[in-house]
Point group: C2
Chain length 155, copies 2
């Protein structure tokens, strides 16, 4: 990891060989892909991410939810305000730690997510269109390794 070596310039690599660029661009379009469906449900990206996360881990404290949803704490706090007002999630004081709040999804929240999920799956399938299953599995494995490389939390 010594770095006397000269860095390649971006112009030489080319944008489309620089993985982070590709990932940003792909995710930009992926996320935009069901913005209409989200809007129809009154959801923004952070709100949708909350519902998606709660579909997997219900009842996390907010700070963990911020990690799952890749959202700023303050943004998340306000997203939760809205979701709670709309009756899609429920805040519940943690009995162990009265600073903490745990978030639970409601039936209405689950229903909202259920109507969004097929679009997410469809978009994901479209992403992998024409990519052999073997490559796809290797790709996901690499993603998991990457997440392990950079995450600052134990999950």
């Amino acid at each position: 990891m010594s770095d006397d070596e000269t860095l390649p310039r971006l112009g030489e690599i080319g944008l489309t060989n620089f993985a982070p660029y590709l990932m940003n661009r792909i995710m930009g379009r992926y996320n935009a892909g069901f913005r209409d469906e989200m809007a129809a449900l009154g959801l923004t990206t952070p709100k949708a991410r909350v519902l998606a996360s709660l579909a997997v881990v219900d009842g996390p404290v907010i700070r963990d939810l911020a990690v799952y949803t890749v959202t700023e704490q303050s943004t998340l706090s306000r997203a939760l305000d809205q979701l709670a007002t709309e009756g899609l999630v429920r805040r519940e004081a943690d009995p162990q730690d009265s600073r903490a709040t745990r978030i639970f999804i409601t039936d209405a929240g689950r229903a909202a997510f259920d109507s969004l999920w097929p679009h997410m799956v469809e978009a994901e399938r479209n992403l992998f269109r024409g990519i052999p299953d073997k490559d796809r599995r290797a790709f996901v494995a690499t993603l998991q390794q990457m997440l392990a490389n950079i995450r600052k939390h134990e999950f």
Copy 2:
């Protein structure tokens, strides 16, 4: 591609097996990783992306730049206002089409990007830490295929 089949539920797949989730989370942290360095240069994400793109293709029309930078037209328009005011880019009317504006990077803009680039490379290397070169190449190839699958533009 018939779809009578029942969709797997997200809870069953698990967040960390759903590629888009992993990609969003990884890029969230990657992008946050040099937010400080950007801030020191007075750059936001869209502004940095403009400079990065111009390091590769100088003089694009704005609508193409919006594709490269994965940025809303209106957001880009204002990012360009700032960059131009700061002297990092230059707007120049397209001689063929007087509706269009072409964007060029200035020496100062190049210098700003050059001071950011090492951090981007370092963050990228960190992402791929411990991932064999072979896997890395396969990963990038898959990304390129994915981009081809979803892009709506010819580049």
